[in-house]
């Protein structure tokens, strides 16, 4: 769910750019540090960016009868950490604007804040919290992805509510209006993305355990001693 090109008033567009820039610069520095220390990781980061972009082609069933697509930022935050996702989300959002006309250049700051900063940080915080409480990995992944998606949708609703206060009920009414209209598709989508994340994570632990260990998502397992 992105805010369309030209949708925000000039002042709001500039303000959201100003708010998002420090996070993206921090993310870009984290990416540059990572590539300086491990030059081979630039290809993996690029693969992660492409993966996030291509996720928009995966259709998820929705209870409203329509279908939507995962944002991928929750999964990305769990796998690659939120600062990296702030930069990668910016790249992906620019590509989505220029290659798919989805989102926009003037609304980039607002969309980056919702999808590349708020979503990943909320998802990652939930993931860390669940790990600290030693909840089952599946529960942690489900909650992380669901809350990342919900945070993205709520922040987008708040951004639109701030920009277009309702003539009768003001900003609060406008926020409630946008949140309730988008909830029809976004709440089921968040739950679906959570379930999808659990299935994907289980698949990855079966077939891509070395990659997950290398990313530090799961702890390294000691090789089992086999008695001969």
């Amino acid at each position: 769910m992105h805010i369309a090109e030209g949708f925000l008033p000039v002042g709001h567009a500039i303000a959201w750019f100003a708010v998002s820039t420090p996070f993206v610069v921090h993310g870009a520095r984290a990416v540059m540090k990572e590539t300086r220390e491990n030059p081979e990781s630039r290809l993996l980061l690029a693969a992660a960016g492409a993966f996030t972009f291509v996720l928009s082609s995966i259709k998820l069933p929705s209870v409203t009868g329509s279908s939507s697509h995962p944002t991928g930022t929750g999964l990305g935050a769990v796998l690659f950490r939120p600062p990296v996702m702030a930069f990668l989300s910016t790249v992906v959002l620019v590509f989505q604007a220029l290659l798919l006309a989805h989102g926009g250049l003037t609304t980039l700051g607002a969309n980056v804040f919702a999808m590349g900063i708020a979503g990943p940080w909320v998802g990652y915080a939930v993931w860390r919290f669940s790990q600290r409480l030693r909840w089952h990995t599946n529960v942690g992944v489900f909650l992380a992805l669901t809350f990342a998606d919900l945070a993205t949708y709520l922040v987008t609703s708040a951004q639109l509510g701030l920009a277009f206060p309702d003539p009768a009920s003001g900003m609060v009414g406008s926020l409630a209006k946008f949140a309730s209209i988008f909830a029809i598709s976004q709440v089921p989508l968040a739950l679906a993305e959570g379930i999808l994340g659990v299935l994907v994570f289980r698949l990855l632990t079966e077939v891509a355990l070395p990659q997950l260990e290398r990313l530090g998502v799961v702890g390294k397992r000691e090789p089992e001693l086999v008695e001969v």
Partner: protein, 251 residues
């Protein structure tokens, strides 16, 4: 999903030979006019110029425009309808359409449509690889551009993979029910993650074998930088601002 239709249009556009500086000045200038000037006449004029440039010199056909325009159009429509509705909860919940809400929604629709057309002026005439070259010239750190460039290169292959996986799953009745659709979507997502990962590792191995230690630089053909084009762009933008200001004064 229409794949990378906009990028395909950009690769074959007659304006591809123009410099990114010239096209960006026109596109971003129109974008600024679309969102900063009053919707009537500012956004209307910006939309008209954007549409004329897209269908004229950039060479986009009406069919192509319809194909690439449905996604932003539906996104704008949902947002505009939400703005048009007014909700009040005094006593009982009331959903209504007020004149102020309709006016705001109409202006918003014009502004968003004009801004989208302005953005398409750049997107439909400039392949993304040309933007990377322009970013190099603007001294953006090479490591960041390279990650963006590699992301773009991986994207094309992965989109083909995603399409092939989806077609195979549909042929195996993978989306006939909700549980089957969730299973198919999760398998597709997992497979795409693994393929993107293995593709990156294979590219890394191949480049390491060729002594790759630095940036992946590609040839950047010379582009036409036209002072006349730039002057006409500034004149056009100035006249849009002038008409908008005159309109307000006359009103």
């Amino acid at each position: 999903m229409h794949g990378l239709a906009i990028d395909r249009i950009a690769w074959s556009s007659p304006w591809r030979v123009r410099s990114v500086r010239d096209k960006a000045a026109l596109s971003l200038g129109l974008l600024l006019c679309a969102i900063a000037l009053p919707p009537v006449p500012g956004s209307v004029l910006a939309a008209g110029v954007g549409l004329a440039v897209l269908l004229g010199p950039i060479g986009v056909t009406l069919r192509q425009l319809g194909r690439i325009g449905w996604m932003p159009a539906s996104s704008i429509l949902i947002g505009v309808l939400t703005v048009a509705l007014s909700v009040s909860a005094e006593g009982e919940l009331r959903v209504q359409m007020t004149e102020a809400g309709l006016l705001q929604a109409g202006g918003l629709a014009l502004r968003a449509a004009a801004a989208t057309l302005a953005m398409l002026v750049l997107a439909c005439s400039t392949p993304v690889v040309d933007l990377f070259a322009a970013l190099h010239k603007a001294r953006v750190p090479a490591a960041l551009i390279e990650i963006a460039a590699l992301t773009y290169r991986f994207t094309a292959g992965l989109l083909d993979n995603a399409g092939a996986i989806h077609a195979a799953q549909v042929a195996r009745l993978g989306y006939v029910s909700r549980p089957a659709a969730m299973r198919s979507a999760s398998l597709a997502t997992g497979m795409l993650f693994l393929r993107s990962w293995s593709r990156a590792q294979r590219l890394e191995d191949g480049l390491a074998g060729r002594g790759y230690t630095d940036n992946l630089r590609t040839l950047d053909p010379r582009r036409v930088r036209s002072a006349t084009f730039l002057a006409l762009t500034w004149a056009l933008l100035a006249s849009l601002v002038g008409v908008a200001v005159a309109w307000e004064v006359v009103r």
